[in-house]
Symmetry: C2
Subunit: 272 residues, 2 copies
Amino acid sequence: MIRLSAVPKSIFTCLLAAVLTTFFTDTQAQSARNRQPSEHDFMYQYSIIDALMAGVFDGDLTIGQLKKKGDFGVGTFNRVDGELLIDKGHVYKIAWDGSVKEVPDSDSTSAAFVKYFKADTVIHLNGPGLTYEKVQEQITHLLNPNGIYALRISATFPTMTTRAEKPAGKPYTSLPEHLKHNQVVFELKNTTGICAGFLLPPYLARTNVPGFHLHYLADDHKSGGHIFNFTADAVTIEVDKAKGFTIENNTHADFGKVNLQPDRGAELKKIE
Amino acid sequence: MIRLSAVPKSIFTCLLAAVLTTFFTDTQAQSARNRQPSEHDFMYQYSIIDALMAGVFDGDLTIGQLKKKGDFGVGTFNRVDGELLIDKGHVYKIAWDGSVKEVPDSDSTSAAFVKYFKADTVIHLNGPGLTYEKVQEQITHLLNPNGIYALRISATFPTMTTRAEKPAGKPYTSLPEHLKHNQVVFELKNTTGICAGFLLPPYLARTNVPGFHLHYLADDHKSGGHIFNFTADAVTIEVDKAKGFTIENNTHADFGKVNLQPDRGAELKKIE
């Protein structure tokens, strides 16, 4: 939370602008929502984060099927072969070598979190000196802590730190153990693009990632990954509040065998 | 978990019968499922257990709307005015005075967990000396710990202990605090009826009740409630495995104001 006295004038002005934009876009969004099926306003996810954490790295949902559940979101692929990002209905893989490719419908995912994205709030924040942490503080300040939000952040980023991972071979280990040896970190400079992902409430622990979870895709499709940190001078944040949440269980045999009793929240925080 | 050497012969015979019935009914159920929309095989819930625990006792979902989400399940009403049970599309209220009434569509719920019920497994267990605890052990032994199951248990019960609660007045307290002073326990004898509810995996902590959560309705509609204990000589357990789970957030203003950060799992166990 921020104290107003500690807020630089430029950010304070932006917050006022943000609130005004909210009222304006709420009406527009309402009209858009009236034309779309009600289930489009629910977030959808295949499998749960705790299964992925525990090493359930394969799933039966194809990318083609995933696209029918939402046009925006994040996830990974079978064998945790890179970071998944969906924007405007296109599914991208950011691989461990830093390359970005659009993914064929025949590929499969072991965990993905998606939504049909329609912004109902737009927040503009100006720097100087914006960081991922400060952007999170501002968003947290403006949104309800119990809400389920899809976030699409567009900006030019002087610095952007991301990761992707090499695919796992069998027998699979846990995700933290796999990342320890197979995570590649990218230090991107002066990159323009979008951050796609979610801000989720504490009650979705175990099933998903409470708090912020965003992946990055450069506009030129030459870089991206799971976001650790960034700096920016100005960001535009599109916010889409979901009415709820659908979880479809992973039907792969490994899901039925894994021990989902332990609370893996502390482990999860270390790798996010 | 049970050791075979410790299993009375009558129960062991029943377990074999249960497995055979499973294969038989799986085929029947598959055929039934092919005729129903896919979303009918997902559990649906309005609001989350942690909000109810924290004192969010009002919701905006009418019983008429709830009936469109499932024909079977459990829950409560606004002001926690009694226990809710749905069976075959009929919604019943078991009130604190022990009475049972079918509920008009215009009533509202602050928390309800429902599904369109189609059994895909039927388990028969014979006693003597079956208890709620022993039935739970048998079911746990036969089903996958990571699955989401709706359960419908029918039997004659020599004893059945249930509860219902008086409605709350404002300002609301937490659910455990409310129950401390307003819970009425019923000691029913030689009652025939059905137990309706769910067996849920550990990852649905915070959003729902992990483990078993069943409500009772006597066939003569003269008694029921949230089940604490029972004894039975023979039970028939219909099991409907769900593909997943949909949570619709409570839209009442109180939901946005409540602190959902604390883990209320230990408190919940005390009142279940």
